[in-house]
Symmetry: C2
Subunit: 586 residues, 2 copies
Amino acid sequence: MKIAIAQINPTIGNISGNVQQILQLAKQAVEQNARLLLTPELSLCGYPPRDLLLNPGFVEEISATLQQLAQDLPPQLAVLVGTVEPNPKAQQAGGKPLFNSIALLEAGKVQQIFHKRLLPTYDVFDEYRYFEPGLQSNSFTLTPLDSETSTQDSALKIGVTICEDLWNDEEFWGKRSYQADPIADLAQQGVDFIVNLSASPYSLGKQKLREAMLRHGAKRYQQPMIYTNQVGGNDDLVFDGRSVAFNRDGEIVCRAAAFETDLAIVEFDERSLDLFPSKIAPVPRSEDEEIWSALVLGVRDYTRKCGFSQVVIGLSGGIDSSLVAAIATAALGAENVFGILMPSPYSSEHSITDAEELAANLGITIHTLPIGELMQGYDKTLEPLFAGTEFGIAEENIQSRIRGNLLMAVANKFGYLLLSTGNKSEMAVGYCTLYGDMNGGLAVIADVPKTRVYSLCQWLNQKGMATSASRSPIPKNILTKPPSAELKPGQLDQDSLPSYEVLDDILSRMIHHHQSSAEIVKAGHNPVIVDQVMRLVARAEFKRRQAPPGIKITDRAFGTGWRMPIASRWLKSNSQQADCATNGQD
Amino acid sequence: MKIAIAQINPTIGNISGNVQQILQLAKQAVEQNARLLLTPELSLCGYPPRDLLLNPGFVEEISATLQQLAQDLPPQLAVLVGTVEPNPKAQQAGGKPLFNSIALLEAGKVQQIFHKRLLPTYDVFDEYRYFEPGLQSNSFTLTPLDSETSTQDSALKIGVTICEDLWNDEEFWGKRSYQADPIADLAQQGVDFIVNLSASPYSLGKQKLREAMLRHGAKRYQQPMIYTNQVGGNDDLVFDGRSVAFNRDGEIVCRAAAFETDLAIVEFDERSLDLFPSKIAPVPRSEDEEIWSALVLGVRDYTRKCGFSQVVIGLSGGIDSSLVAAIATAALGAENVFGILMPSPYSSEHSITDAEELAANLGITIHTLPIGELMQGYDKTLEPLFAGTEFGIAEENIQSRIRGNLLMAVANKFGYLLLSTGNKSEMAVGYCTLYGDMNGGLAVIADVPKTRVYSLCQWLNQKGMATSASRSPIPKNILTKPPSAELKPGQLDQDSLPSYEVLDDILSRMIHHHQSSAEIVKAGHNPVIVDQVMRLVARAEFKRRQAPPGIKITDRAFGTGWRMPIASRWLKSNSQQADCATNGQD
């Protein structure tokens, strides 16, 4: 029996458009003689729908569409579709009003409904905000079309799980996160194979973890597993696809494409009761390649799903904006990327020539808008108030905000999406200007630490770009010169910050591993620097709160999964408080 | 037996400072012969601590401080303190790592720990993200000091509930939200009275609801109820205090101050087993007075808790900035409020004179920074790119962003906090400029609809301000002239938007009542306007995502409790998508 995995790229709330994707792949699945089609979690509305779920009209549209879809699908194909279902007992028994559900559609009708049992409520996930957990083990029987005698005897019993339902094997994790383990329950009941319908967002190394976990489960329970994932970018989250299937020996038998829509077919052998080997898409050859692909997809989908086709980027001649321009070029085509150079009297000669060389390499159009006269204009306007004060952070920020204003003017005038270019290290310590270089609809590399920005550019130069005139798109000088904000003469990042190798290690321990300063110092870092970094991170919270969405590529990003108070004293000394809502490159 | 309610104003994460507040009120409670002191939910760390709870070091500091506090408190006083407790069974049984708890401290020791049973996970609340629900009914016994024979016989049994534990009476609400009802459980067990330790954020009318609910519970179960609430502003949330007690007949016997720290004393009569009448603070005389008090406290606390003492505000001569200036003056004193006038060639004469009159009325210092030359500077800089295009939204936004840049320059130079002045109606439909008039550390009236802005100003003029030179601080012309952004000649808000009466009613139905466009039309609104408003709200999501925290005064604010996707198609037509990340006053 053939099972088709529809790795679709839904747009949140575009219910009719998402259904069209399902219908199209259902047609292809039938052409390939599939009996069962799997779609991702919440495939009708896309994941995550967030507070759209609070609108009764939204839920009603999903329900109505589900009924219509059942009629429109090929009747001989059984299809599992992700949907939401009202919880009829919510008001009397107490509980959330909805379930996160899967509907089994077949022969023109909704045949069965299954509810997700484990509801992730951590990091970017808010499922307990909307959903009541299902309490029952989920399975259905399906008679293969091609079986010679289509009797009950030949019917297969298929276990159904939804995303997080898979993630609670205490043997694999060394702990439980939830009381129930839906996989263990299904194995105990006895099913022929287990499907999991997911919308699992990308982070670096996540696929290794998923495959290790699936392999473990398949072997532990001697149970073939077929995992379907969503693909595509939705705001800060990129879903990487890579749907995958394992046979009962824990061997991988199928892997769908990474970061692309796909229709993968696996075949269940009713004699051996196991999956046949099938097409296995390769994994990225390096971490840099994987991250690059995620960022390209994230930019392409955010741009497209917001209705834009063209983007504008401020090019400083620095490595961050160069990487963002390269990503945008790969995502949208050189003809859809516009670079703006905005030199000031503090800009070095190379910052202009480096940006020009980059643009030539990428084949993108650039314009130059010098800001010297506007800087003088602000100086003159503010002179009555600022007379007698020293040049400082206020003046540095004015420059950054002039550039931010010019970029938004170009974006507004021509209908471009502005991409911002700050990296995660900067966003962490607040080495960026709110309403200045932070401006944009999408912060492309806001979850990419500075050291990774370098390695991505080096990887890119080794690989070369299809759209690039030269084999090495990032000019060598951009990779080798010391980083500088160029907001005052001779300024270097390392005048204000530790080296990026040191900074990124401290940040990783603090942000990803929740280490205390004592633990970080014990790992070999200078206590003064650790203390400085922790205070900088705490006091930059007000900037991050106003940042655009950034594409998440790590297990902890400054986005919807980062929920920190601003007016808080934790980790901040009193003296630092005075800076809490100021801006600066300090 | 006397029971003291410590209505404290904690700062999030300032554990040692919060303990000092508890110790100080404990001393006063002892002086007033209290036997028991109640403090709010999570009183050690302040509510809501959010993702600070993910740091093991933070939890350890709370635990260590709790032990020390037990020793430092007067030994004869029993004290209930809000704290977090590790869940020892989390890893084996599956569950969240912490409990939201109350510790009973007495005689130098932690005597008992109680866990919160109902965990709100909706709107601004994320408790299931961090906490495991408690499963047991919570009570303790206490022997009154003044009882003539201090035997077990005279001991009182006191039921303990934490905030949401109180909010699930299916008779009062007409439905259940959770399976358990901790109040019903305690009443069934038989306790002498029930205490509830809360951190319940303010919204308009919330106190009426709380008191009706407490009255209902007290009468239904013939159970005296003592409710302790946190007070103070923490980022977007204002806690209004107004701790309150009801006797077993459902009569109010005590109410603490609104929007202020307080120590209230209630007395339990061991003969009648009921509460004696005590001091009852008055309620605000109007909705406007209540909202005004919330906004003043919100501004004062955000400013103070972020370490600022002075604020700067852009004064346009319009009603929004006038109201914000008046609130800031009441919160911080006229000497700590600075107004900046930034007239352009499109500014009317009255916009300057009205702002000057307002400033004179409030007694605040103003400076004027004309922006005409900077506008010309941008025109000149952008001329090579913009030549041949029409004046439009791009140019309007440039003006707003020049002002935003100047305000931030002043804030950065002098260490002021910038307050932004947009109202909820504007924020809803996107009639505001990102990186322009939206700039600021705190959006003071972002949850105040425009029609309420008018009524607040009218109320203020009737009441007068203590700090104001004139009895009516808001100049009459500001109240009567038609609203205008003044970004092009003769521009009026009502050229682009329906009247604010109509707009605010549609928004209220959409945002607060989740009504569909069909329902709103059925209520009598023009379908074309309803459609326009709904699409404007949907497409302005990208602006709200980058807005500063706004002070929540309604049951649904655009803040931490509003979680909408940006790149979504729900309610947006395709043609509208092209504007999704542009800005404008359109």
